[in-house]
């Protein structure tokens, strides 16, 4: 693909949008995993395990891993797509699907489906 006249290639912007989708999805996945497993719940207590905040509980791990996934995926995708003109429509649709999954997995009636029955 070629960029419209006198504009930069869209690869870096596609990378930024996709990375936001990846970060949202990873956040949502850890919200679900936290409900599924006591071991993962303990692992996600980054405040107790790594001193990241105090009294935050497993939320500290969920958001930290989501943000790390966001920035790492952004760097990787940026390097992969820089200087390239990509099909932005496809990249944007993929981003929306990832963000939509992230939204859905942070919705309590959905993530509580994965909690063990009491």
């Amino acid at each position: 693909m070629t960029a419209p006249a006198e504009t930069k290639p869209n690869g870096p912007v596609a990378a930024a949008f996709l990375a936001a989708g990846v970060g949202s999805l990873v956040l949502g996945l850890f919200v679900v995993l936290n409900e599924m497993s006591e071991d993962i719940n303990q692992f996600l207590r980054f405040d107790e395990n790594y001193g990241l905040g105090s009294g935050v509980g497993p939320l500290s791990g969920k958001v930290t891993l989501g943000v790390i996934a966001y920035f790492v995926s952004w760097i990787v995708l940026h390097v992969a797509l820089r200087g390239r003109e990509v099909n932005f429509r496809n990249a944007f649709v993929a981003s929306l699907v990832l963000v939509g999954l992230g939204f859905a997995l942070t919705f309590p009636p959905i993530f509580m489906l994965f909690a063990p029955a009491e």
């Binding site: 006198e6 956040l27 905040g53 932005f88 942070t106 919705f107």
Partner: protein
């Protein structure tokens, strides 16, 4: 008439940062929406792009500040556990423990089980989306006017960021009313 340190902080977290976020969103949305080649002169494009850049980065930075301060400062106050001597079924003993106060009463339990559980997670999606938009505006600058597909995508992401922050802000206001962090 006085505010405790915690009340003052929650005002800063919810009201001050929240208002800045709303203002930046309104400005950014209007800027993205109206940035069409037929609508703006070349001089106008430069001026509008500068404003758009400020609006989108303010929104992104404020979104990060809001989730960071909310999660690592206010949230621990909210979820603090009472000492063993406190009866967690007696609301009159739980004024300093908002999470337990909400859960102690059937009529308020959903504010925690649904409202807080959603708010504390969904809020973190907002800064990621807002940063992607701010990056797109910074990357293209005045060229954004010739990139309609990216402008439209940025509008969608910007609106989703506002939606995520709006859910968090709305539940934050209701929860603070039901069980203030004092």
């Amino acid at each position: 008439m006085e505010l405790t340190d915690r009340e003052l902080y929650t005002v800063l977290h919810g009201l001050v940062l929240g208002t800045l976020f709303l203002l930046a969103f309104a400005g950014g949305l209007a800027g993205l929406w109206s940035l069409g080649e037929r609508l703006v002169t070349p001089e106008g494009v430069v001026e509008r792009t500068r404003r758009l850049l400020i609006g989108t980065w303010v929104m992104a930075i404020v979104a990060w500040l809001t989730v960071l301060t909310g999660t690592f400062i206010a949230y621990p106050w909210y979820r603090a556990a009472p000492p063993e001597a406190v009866d967690t079924t007696d609301p009159s003993q739980l004024a300093e423990y908002p999470r337990y106060l909400l859960l102690a009463q059937e009529k308020t339990a959903q504010w925690h089980e649904f409202g807080m559980e959603w708010k504390e997670h969904v809020a973190w999606i907002a800064p990621m989306l807002a940063t992607a938009v701010a990056f797109a505006v910074a990357y293209y600058g005045v060229q954004l006017i010739r990139r309609g597909e990216i402008r439209r995508a940025a509008l969608v992401f910007f609106t989703l960021a506002f939606l995520a922050a709006g859910i968090a802000g709305l539940f934050g206001a209701f929860i603070t009313k039901a069980a203030p962090v004092a």
